[in-house]
């Protein structure tokens, strides 16, 4: 798995594939204050990006990819 769901936040690592989008969306919806770590995230699939854009969790750290960071409003 490229997403680790911890108590307070989810950690996205490496390349997050399309299959993870739904689980991530479900998890984010269940959280009272959803938060994700993107520090180790290299790239995401379009569907995952869409989940992040739509549900707008708190980003604990910004991804290394400047383009992705810009699109998520982190740079």
């Amino acid at each position: 798995m490229t997403i680790r769901y911890l108590k307070k936040h989810a950690v996205l690592e490496g390349h997050v594939a399309v299959d993870d989008a739904e689980a991530l969306a479900q998890w984010l919806l269940q959280q009272r204050v959803p938060a994700v770590h993107l520090g180790k995230c290299e790239d995401v699939h379009g569907a995952v990006l869409q989940v992040l854009l739509a549900l707008r969790p708190t980003f604990k750290s910004s991804p290394a990819d400047p383009l992705l960071a810009r699109v998520l409003g982190l740079a």
Partner: protein, 777 residues
């Protein structure tokens, strides 16, 4: 291009012109007040005349010239268009067509043509108020070209470009902005729009938003994260072709915008990026602001607005004058009165105008520049995709198709080779590689075949065109009033299919006109509108083209058909009595049938519908007739889209391989021998509650062998359709389907009954393809 080529070209073009003229003449007759049609007609005639002049074909030019003069009068309303005039023009046109045939055959016009051409020309001239002298020949001018100024709705940047910071990339030589709206289901196709966008070549900026608003509150729980809702805007400095190639799979979801043309505002100083049009506009707006300020009693808001407008206008202009002016405007700080701003605006107007005027003057040498600057996109797109038509002779296409056919056959030998490599030479690895190569070649061959099919496709309208004339002539001769309605003329089919359709359709239409549509008095008495309607509808249904010819005439009289059929000895009286009305109507397809009592030049020879059916069946088509007495008749032709490649099922019987056309096959079944009922010589079986007669293929082909049973004691039965009934053919083995190029039987074999033709198989063998219809008769 030498003289012969030029002549060929002339013949082709002249034919096209004549066709267009013929069509337009009929259109104009329907709607004589339509200037556009008349002008179009005149242009076609004029073009033809111009072309004739090039070759000194005097007789042809004389006729066409007379026609042109006549049409010129009509066009200028000094002469009324009438049916007689149309008759004369149509006749002259027919004569021109004959002349062109002569030209094509001999390269010149027979010397005796002069007299007839003079007759035609004077017939035409007689309409032109007689007394006038023949006008001097017009110069061989080209067709008047209608100047079309393309109008673009995109002279301004689309609103989505505002999501990009185009000013930041203004230093690039060319910037291409594009908006990519992935379709909703794109994730299910394995597409990743984000990845596609961020890997775009030369990517400068990227902006992602939602296509429709993201779900809020309660809706979030029900939101489907696999319904793509992304709206991606990006700009790149890569060449357009490269970017297009990158987005080629989703080309229809991408909107383009040449951002360089639209960021002229932000172009670097020193380059003449500001269009002269913009400068003129600035000058006009500037003086507008002055007028606004000059009005008495303006509020502070107006002054503020005017000030903003002025500073924005300055922002649009570059150069030292502009920047100096904006600096001086900035000096007028805080609240200003209308009058002080007006003074400033007037004093600086000169600077603005100087910029504008010098720019305009520098562009004045190129008067068209304005339009070019406003419509950069239009020009770009027309330069990128010029609509060029290549005229190629049919024999070249046919040759290409033959070659592709050979290629298809040749490629089919590879699987046999692979099999041999494996079985004979024990080279399994090699066999696999051959198969892999075969897959590649197979794909290319399929594409080739498809492409050549597309080239050969013609709209059926090409045939329908001549019917307008036919119906007009015949209905006038018969004293009937007929409207022809054509629908679906864009439906496409193979050229050969279309061409072989022409004769049967003419027969059908003649029949409809002669037997179907009644005389106006009769129609009125029957409570129908006096003018009959013949409707030709073409459409595509899966891999077949359906053409329906409907008339609202008298319909077929079943009783009369029965009597006539008995009278002519086509069926016995007993048979006739047992036929239902629907079946009786079908008798008109019998050879030698005619209901007309006397032979006219239209019908009565008893070759009508029989010819139609034979011609249609020759191209693997079918004819169905349904008729309601008093209401009308509908003929339904069903034709294959293309005849080049036939799919056959290969079966084996008595050790021989035979092909059966796939479109006749209903199913293949294996039936235990004990389920076959014998009654004297006849064999039947019950298939899904229906009795199916069985015939042994060996018997039909006079092969002396019994059908073979398989290990389970079953017989292989190929169920085929025969005259709307199912018939089972007993064969030995099924060998699967194969695409073949069917060659008709020729020469010594031409008279062979029961076979549709032969085909070359991949292993070099010849496959005989059966014609079950003939075989079962």
């Amino acid at each position: 291009m030498n003289q012969t080529d030029l002549l060929d070209q002339f013949v082709i073009e002249a034919r096209e012109c004549l066709e267009a003229i013929g069509k337009r003449l009929l259109d104009v007759e329907q709607d004589p007040d339509n200037d556009e049609l008349l002008n179009d007609l005149f242009r076609s005639v004029h073009t033809l005349k111009g072309n004739c002049g090039l070759f000194e074909f005097k007789p042809l030019e004389r006729v066409v010239h007379a026609g042109e003069d006549l049409l010129d009068r009509v066009r200028h309303r000094t002469l009324a268009y009438s049916a007689e005039l149309a008759d004369a023009l149509l006749e002259a046109m027919d004569y021109s067509a004959q002349l062109i045939d002569q030209i094509e055959r001999h390269g010149r016009i027979d010397s005796n043509a002069d007299a007839r051409s003079i007759a035609h020309a004077s017939a035409l001239r007689s309409f032109v108020c007689g007394s006038e002298p023949a006008p001097s020949p017009a110069p061989l001018a080209a067709v008047p070209v209608i100047a079309r100024v393309p109008v673009s709705s995109e002279d301004l940047a689309p609103s989505w470009t505002s999501r990009l910071d185009l000013a930041a990339v203004a230093s690039k030589l060319s910037v291409l902005a594009l908006r990519y709206l992935p379709e909703v289901g794109c994730f299910f196709k394995g597409e990743d729009p984000w990845r596609l966008a961020r890997t775009a070549p030369g990517l400068l900026q990227l902006h992602v938003a939602s296509a429709s608003a993201w779900p809020q509150g309660e809706d979030r729980a029900a939101w489907d994260c696999y319904q793509c809702n992304l709206d991606i805007v990006l700009c790149t400095d890569a060449p357009r072709s490269e970017v297009e190639a990158h987005f080629c799979c989703v080309a229809e979801q991408v909107t383009w915008c040449d951002a360089t043309a639209n960021v002229g505002v932000a172009a670097p100083p020193g380059e003449p990026a500001v269009s002269p049009l913009l400068r003129q506009r600035v000058a006009v707006l500037w003086s507008d602001q002055c007028e606004l300020l000059a009005r008495a009693g303006d509020s502070a808001g107006t002054v503020g607005a005017a000030r903003r407008a002025l500073s924005n206008l300055l922002g649009c202009l570059d150069g030292p004058a502009g920047s100096a002016a904006s600096a001086s405007l900035a000096e007028i700080a805080g609240e200003v009165s209308a009058s002080s701003l007006l003074v400033w605006a007037r004093s600086n107007a000169l600077a603005v105008e100087v910029v504008a005027v010098t720019a305009t003057a520098s562009e004045a040498t190129m008067p068209d520049r304005d339009i070019v600057a406003v419509l950069p996109r239009v020009e770009d797109s027309s330069a990128a995709s010029p609509q060029k038509v290549l005229k190629v002779g049919q024999e070249k296409i046919d040759r290409l198709m033959e070659l592709i056919g050979e290629m298809v056959v040749a490629k089919n030998s590879l699987p046999y080779l692979a099999q041999r490599a494996e079985e004979v030479f024990q080279q399994r690895e090699l066999a696999r590689e051959i198969k892999a190569q075969y897959a590649v070649i197979n794909r290319i061959a399929d594409d080739l075949q498809h492409a050549i099919m597309q080239v050969r496709m013609l709209p059926v309208g090409a045939v329908f065109q001549r019917f307008g004339r036919l119906i007009r002539d015949i209905s006038r001769k018969l004293g009937k009033e007929v409207n022809l309605v054509v629908e679906g003329e864009d439906t496409e089919a193979d050229k050969n299919v279309i061409e072989s359709l022409a004769d049967p359709l003419i027969h059908i239409l003649r029949n409809s006109l002669d037997h179907g549509i009644e005389l106006p008095e009769v129609r009125r008495a029957a409570g129908k509108p006096p003018a009959g309607t013949i409707r030709i509808v073409a459409r595509q249904e899966s891999d077949r083209v359906i053409i329906e010819i409907q008339d609202d005439g008298a319909g077929v009289d079943a009783a009369r058909v029965r009597n006539k059929a008995v009278e002519r000895g086509l069926i016995s009286a007993d048979q006739a009595d047992t036929l239902s009305d629907d079946d009786a109507v079908q008798l008109i397809f019998l050879p030698g049938f005619s209901t007309a009592d006397e032979i006219s030049d239209l019908s009565g020879r008893g070759v009508g519908m029989d010819v139609v059916r034979t011609a249609i069946e020759r191209i693997n088509g079918g004819v169905e007739l349904s008729s309601v007495q008093g209401k009308g008749t509908t003929l339904r032709l069903s034709l294959p889209l293309s005849m080049a490649v036939t799919t056959v099922m290969v079966v084996e019987s008595a050790g021989r391989r035979l092909g059966v056309p796939m479109d006749l096959i209903v199913e293949t079944v294996r039936i235990p021998a004990c389920d076959i009922h014998h009654f004297k010589q006849a064999r039947t079986t019950v298939l899904r509650g229906r009795v199916v007669p069985l015939r042994a293929l060996n018997d039909l082909l006079a092969l002396d062998a019994a059908p073979m049973l398989n290990e389970a004691g079953e017989l292989a039965v190929l169920v085929i359709r025969h005259d709307n009934e199912s018939v089972g053919l007993l064969v030995d083995h099924f060998h699967g389907a194969s695409d073949i190029i069917l060659k008709p039987l020729e020469g010594v074999l031409a008279g062979l009954i029961g076979f549709a033709g032969t085909a070359l198989m991949g292993d070099g063998g010849v496959l005989m393809v059966l014609n079950p219809k003939e075989l079962l008769q």
